[in-house]
Symmetry: D2
Subunit: 331 residues, 4 copies
């Protein structure tokens, strides 16, 4: 299933070295201003070509092919595609047979019976996040005045992310990091008890981003070392404002009006220039692998905008569904 | 939305102090042996009345009201309900107006316009997890020989969970903990790229359990301090076995055949016997709250079986969908 | 999949001769007045014990077990169950092996591997429509002031339904009929282009009712003999009122504000007292079958209230989703 | 919602006079041979430029932009788009204000607040069925050896469809018709009781095709005039073969192995060259409308291949889900 969302729904498609990658957005309201320029800022943030990130640069020019008329959304499906241009598939020849450690190569081979497009990770490539960022741009417009901001807190334990990334790169290695996302001002009442809790949907979305290995809301794992009397957030006004925010803005799966706060961890880039152990899937022989190609020493540098996008997508879906379980003709 | 799952789907219902709580299970295969006794062991694990947990004890006798015939599942929906008997609603009188900190009282009031059943947390009560555990019992049968085991690793930083819980209780306080869940042996190929990744669905399920505030797969948050050369799991045989398991058994969202491993954090119980600050929703006045009722000092003690249940439910759904994207007439 | 609906969702469960049948309703708004008496009128309409219908009479007393508090819906799942009491399972002994023509016996045997509850049709029984009618009662309250009315236009070609049914019964035979459903006043804008067209969802719902074999909207099949100049509905005012209503109140899948009108056909009751040909599934031998039990000569007499219920359920779902693709903060 | 399907899912996008129209297909198995030539035959059948159909001819060249590698499907999403080229938007100038009778113009205006692309029907155009046909081509490959065949039984009551269409055209009028679809050989056990009945899903799909106003399975509406003893299909062998097929190959919502047979009615083309009555949405004044542009006198001529496509899409979804409610490790 390559779709996500109930009321505001996205579907992504494409391969790293195919014709294009992109996204279809269903359920976007009519009347939102949108042009190809709207995407430039966030797409730029997702791109590589900065210290510590890959040298492959795609222009990432969004083709807005449906769902927009006279500069505004029409209410019907929006498709945004990105042509692939800067491709060096020769780098990827042997990946059909020798799976790269901690990549999707092995599982793709098994799941798709050898028919998958293995070039550059194919459909599993981080390049697919281009579509997520594009959908996020639209979702952010929908959310206004809510604002989602994700920042990279640390890389390999250091707050100076870039120097940590450069140090790893120098050593033919890679590093990961921790990203925090905060959304404010939050309406009260988004989310549902149990299965459509805000945490459930946000975590579902976050683990759709390649390389995320953990998520925590509010105090998160630190809560395991707190007493209830420390963790509980005293309520200080009728609007539900709390003195502390250990809950991260969510109680019982539902937003309580305080800032929505969570953190995700991004693993170190799987592609490293060092020698690694793997096996040949056809012969079964153990082998040594040197990964070619252009890769990020720390792709966590590029992920904050993807985290923001997925957050905005989830919140847009909730916003369209409403803060009450129904606020129609009954009131 | 109080349902979860695509091929194996559950819906829960009920309130803490209403007639009953329960679950409807849709998509369960025919022919699985099932009787009311099948549930006893796991329901017992979920129950309170142990050191550090609530004194309210329900018999938790499962009424298996449809979907079973001659001791086996029929393939049509199964409903399991639990009558509520041991109720002391008088304990909960004032919760309509004075929301308990870090409980769902405030958001329920806002979202449901004051119409919610506030007694004992109503539909937000941990009692609703009875239905999850019952559904998990069936899912575990379906999964066999896969086995999901969740254990409480620590409470308030201590491996001796019970003494940590008792210490907190003595002090009219509460504590949380960390639970690890491991499933083995795992088939290769469960899960989908992106939105139906195994991490996405498992985290979605975990955050449906009241009180979970974080989840991490494999090395999880520790990955932020690792180099790629440490984190990557060298592949050592044709079946995808890896030397280490920092990925927690998942690459690209898909199971790789190694053990599936994740951890969740359970916050301290929100209900504590200490005085707390809140406000009166009707008058807006600040007030002091003493929570009455019978509560767990550490409900994390009861959560492992719920974590197992939700894991089994998610994996059953994936198993029914298959490890290949389709293995029908094409092979 | 035994669930239906996006925003207002129902799940049904139970067997004809099991403990109970019933329905879980998810997504019902809070604050709707509801008691067990609310269901009496429509449940009565669904019941048998009239001329031409079965002699089996269940009391059909609805147990409202969750989702209602102080006489009003809470916004969380509502479960309504009906205990089975008036059962004569001895009538159904041989159905495990000899499938009744045009019943679900044969397909159930094949699909569920012989594990299904075959007594009285089991989960395929018309008795399951009790839950549909109950959910419809709630949906109708939600829809107000929209009113859905279904009437039996004809039975076996005659407008005097009862005499046609009695004539068939006398002859140990059965008959079907045609039901028309009209909803008024209709809001403009329910439904979506293509897959969530109003016709798509309504027909999906109608064919969930056992025994329905056809549906037509507006002029329906008669349109095949009309010219465009006859069929087209001239628009006569700004509110979209049309001079004729050959479209049945829907254009492009979306309601146009005129009455919503459709007809369904109900086949003759499959259970007849006459000798019929079948085979023994175990031996493969041809055999002659006499159906025992108490059956309707014309169950179409009981279906109008079920058609109304499913119509109200579909329209409630659309109403909750709104007449605009989004009517939130954008306007 | 512009998506349809559970295991085999399609999403369509585009506008008649925008950049392109197309479809994204999710859940298609890996390993199916596919090239741009695969679509030629069915796309040709959908095209106009025959007697009685529109003079607008698009080349309908399918761009297969993802999900195919080395001539075979990869198992990940397939996108197929069709560039729009032969556009004469000047024909459609006034449709923003004066809705064409029995078209979607009025409802689109109301639902999308005037932001919709009105040119040539925009997203409501029959041109969107290009994507349905393309998805159908893939679904048909998946279904093999099942074969879906739809034929136009009659136009305006005549079996000579073309002469009926030409007669109408000559008179500046339009006509509709009746299409029958038959699928054979059918497996036993596709479909589910109640909401995912084969009739429910097929009718849902059929009413997604613009202009369909009715559907009937097997004997359909004629059943209203039959006795049970006539309608019931005697079972004549262990494989469930029946002597007659009044049920259309479905009992209890589930396929019984006999041919799957249904008919749909296509209304006369809404766009006719005759003068029609409408109103100006801005001024409210009654007005007279002459529809310009190139239109089919009988678009029913082009619909059989769309009916086949949607049938194949629905059946593929069921096939992937399996004929048993689960045929995994239990057998």
């Amino acid at each position: 299933v390559n779709g996500f969302g109930r009321a505001f729904r996205i579907n992504i498609f494409g391969e790293s070295h195919g014709d294009c990658v992109g996204v279809v957005i269903d359920g976007c309201p009519a009347g939102i201003e949108l042009s190809e320029e709207s995407f430039a800022f966030d797409l730029k943030r997702r791109q590589g070509c900065r210290l510590g990130t890959t040298q492959r640069v795609e222009k990432d020019y969004p083709l807005l092919q449906s769902g927009v008329f006279n500069g505004k959304t029409t209410g019907t499906p929006i498709i945004i595609s990105f042509q692939n241009q800067n491709i060096r598939s020769s780098d990827y020849k042997n990946q059909g047979e020798i799976p790269r450690p901690s990549h999707a190569d092995f599982v793709a081979w098994k799941k798709f019976g050898g028919y998958h497009d293995y070039r550059g990770g194919g459909h599993f490539s981080g390049r697919l996040t281009t579509g997520l960022v594009a959908a996020g741009v639209i979702a952010k417009k929908l959310l206004s005045p809510l604002k989602c901001s994700a920042t990279l807190l640390e890389v390999h334990g250091q707050s100076d992310a870039v120097s940590a990334a450069l140090a790893a790169e120098k050593n033919k290695d890679s590093v990961g990091g921790i990203i925090e996302c905060r959304t404010t001002p939050m309406p009260i009442g988004l989310g549902e008890p149990f299965f459509d809790s805000v945490e459930s949907l946000l975590s579902h979305a976050m683990f759709s981003i390649p390389g995320i290995k953990g998520i925590e809301f509010g105090s998160g794992f630190a809560a395991a070392n707190m007493y209830g009397s420390e963790f509980n957030d005293p309520i200080i006004d009728k609007e539900g404002r709390t003195q502390s925010n250990h809950s991260g803005g969510i109680n019982g799966g539902i937003t309580n009006g305080n800032d929505l706060v969570f953190r995700v961890v991004v693993r170190p880039t799987a592609s490293i220039a060092k020698e690694q152990k793997s096996i040949n899937l056809k012969t079964g022989a153990s082998t040594t692998l040197y990964i070619q190609g252009r890769h990020d020493a720390c792709f966590a540098l590029r992920v904050p905008v993807v985290v923001e996008a997925m957050t905005a997508i989830v919140l847009s879906d909730f916003i369209i569904r409403g803060t009450k379980n129904y606020s129609g003709s009954l009131e």
